[in-house]
Symmetry: C2
Subunit: 131 residues, 2 copies
């Protein structure tokens, strides 16, 4: 799948804020890599949890995608938002197989203040979702 089609599919799913829609787009062995920790999170369940949690934490009214870059079976989507008075700038780096199932989802965030805030908020959100 070309990167532009993948990006369009992801935008649709991200807008829906629906964990089932997110999960349906993931390969069973999907891997999530966070901006905070080095170790990849492996599998559809944990990847869905991270992406849904990230959507809950970051998806406020100020969130917008501001740039797109493509490769075969892959895209990079840049986003910006403001949270608790902190400017957050980041990228979603998404890879899929030929059928368009997401196999790899990596997120990077800048600047340092924003990562510390995302770290704290994601921790709280993942705890809440467990409970």
């Amino acid at each position: 799948m070309d990167g532009k089609t993948l990006a369009a599919k992801w935008h649709e799913v991200a807008l829906s804020s629906d964990p089932h829609a997110v999960s349906a787009m993931l390969h069973d062995d999907a891997v999530f890599e966070s901006p905070v920790v080095h170790s990849p999170q492996r599998g559809k369940a944990i990847t869905t949890a991270y992406l849904t949690s990230a959507g809950n934490v970051l998806g406020n009214d100020s969130f917008e995608y501001v740039g797109e870059w493509y490769a075969e079976n892959s895209c990079v989507l840049e986003f910006k938002l403001e949270l608790d008075g902190i400017q957050i700038n980041g990228v979603d780096m998404i890879s899929c197989n030929d059928e368009g199932q997401i196999t790899h989802f990596k997120v990077m965030v800048r600047p340092l203040k924003a990562i510390n805030l995302v770290h704290q908020k994601m921790g709280e959100m993942l705890e809440k979702m467990k409970g």
Copy 2:
């Protein structure tokens, strides 16, 4: 300029480790955005200083570019390296004008440990270059 040509030009300059080659590829009003601080650094001189400093800090034998994504007048280059036993993963997000002069250079790094290390090392390197 298409993103692929821009990427190839940057790889050539990055490999040379030559501040003059870096500077020659920059627009006079080039802007650098670091993984650590929010405020953009404006102008060819400070952008050259940051890119040269980043090359000195990160450009060890383990450094390699591992992925490329393209847009018109822009590319995203993913890199990996190990420094002081820490795995560093990041992206160079490069934009240019129609003549291929770099107008904007943004860097993001993950995970948190890596940003803290880059923060410390870049601070030391920029101090050394001033002195």
